[in-house]
């Protein structure tokens, strides 16, 4: 299986994401933001970082990059897409996921190992977990506060679109402790914490993050 990882100018975690893909047993494929060719990948990961410097809004300019037009088209046809941190911001800006990410309520950049609860274990990126399972992965962001209009939040909760939630403390003031959400069809998932930094004992607080990358192997096969 081929999983593309898009590099934007300012991406920081593309190499880590590619390594996580490889450890999960898939073939990572490097994709460049300005190209218009998904190179026959079966799924795409949008990595963390500060795309285009995030000078306008986090993820805003990346969401309009040429490669993202292909990603949006293919995602609407069911291709799995995972957005991590800046990648989550890009997915919201591109309209593939609801809501938006804004400045942390305390205005500090926050990085720590974070406890999360997997609320949905039936998405393309979370099927390796059990519903309600708690995992530890690092979080590191300055604009990670998930917001949406009250009516939109009610709709998301009602439809079970919250994929992962912060437990044991909310690092950025996200509404309803939302750490990640999913698209209606469960194929697109975005989250602020970094599962790709928790895939090896040597470099992470756990290996709990690997499940995101192994999940998609079965998701693509069953598509």
């Amino acid at each position: 299986m081929r999983i593309g990882v898009i590099t934007f100018p300012g991406s920081l975690d593309d190499v880590d994401a590619a390594r996580a893909v490889r450890l999960a047993g898939a073939e990572p494929v490097a994709l460049w933001h300005a190209d218009h060719d998904l190179r026959d990948v079966d799924a795409v990961v949008l990595p963390g970082g500060f795309s285009y410097g995030d000078y306008l809004r986090a993820g805003a300019i990346a969401a309009r990059a040429p490669m993202m037009r292909d990603v949006v088209d293919r995602a609407r046809q069911g291709m799995p897409v995972l957005g991590i941190c800046n990648g989550f911001q890009v997915l919201c800006e591109a309209g593939l996921l609801p809501g938006a990410l804004t400045r942390n309520s305390h205005l500090h950049f926050r990085n720590r190992d974070q406890l999360l609860r997997v609320e949905r274990a039936d998405t393309a990126w979370t099927s390796s977990y059990a519903e309600g399972q708690t995992i530890v992965v690092p979080v590191k962001n300055g604009e990670g506060r998930y917001v949406a209009a009250p009516a939109e939040l009610e709709r998301l909760e009602g439809e079970g679109r919250v994929a992962v939630r912060y437990v044991g403390g909310n690092p950025n003031g996200s509404l309803r402790d939302i750490a990640g959400v999913t698209s209606e069809d469960g194929r697109v998932v975005g989250l602020m914490p970094h599962p790709e930094h928790a895939v090896e004992d040597l470099t992470g607080p756990s290996t709990d993050g690997l499940g995101f990358f192994t999940s998609v192997l079965t998701a693509v096969v069953s598509a």
């Binding site: 306008l56 938006a100 804004t102 942390n104 205005l107 917001v147 209009a149 003031g173």
Partner: protein
């Protein structure tokens, strides 16, 4: 060259921690009659020829602002 101004500010229901931080500083400086601050962004676009309102609205609403969380106001040249 005509200048078009675009103001972007978080919607009232979205909390604005940067505005809150400014309000806190004003209180500490003794400006207690200021009771609210909202921080936003101000874009000044130099436009060639006659500004096309439809095109500028599209620019404002699809790139300069995120309509999910922000209100946007377009100011065309009046003369």
């Amino acid at each position: 060259m005509p200048q078009v101004v675009v103001d972007v500010v978080l919607k009232p229901e979205i909390s604005d921690p940067q505005g809150q931080a400014v309000l806190g500083a004003l209180g500490r400086l003794g400006h207690t009659r200021v009771t609210g601050v909202r921080q936003g962004k101000h874009f000044v676009l130099d436009v060639e020829g006659t500004p096309d309102e439809a095109e500028l609205t599209q620019i404002a609403e699809t790139l300069l602002a995120n309509p999910v969380i922000e209100d946007v106001e377009l100011h065309l040249p009046t003369d």
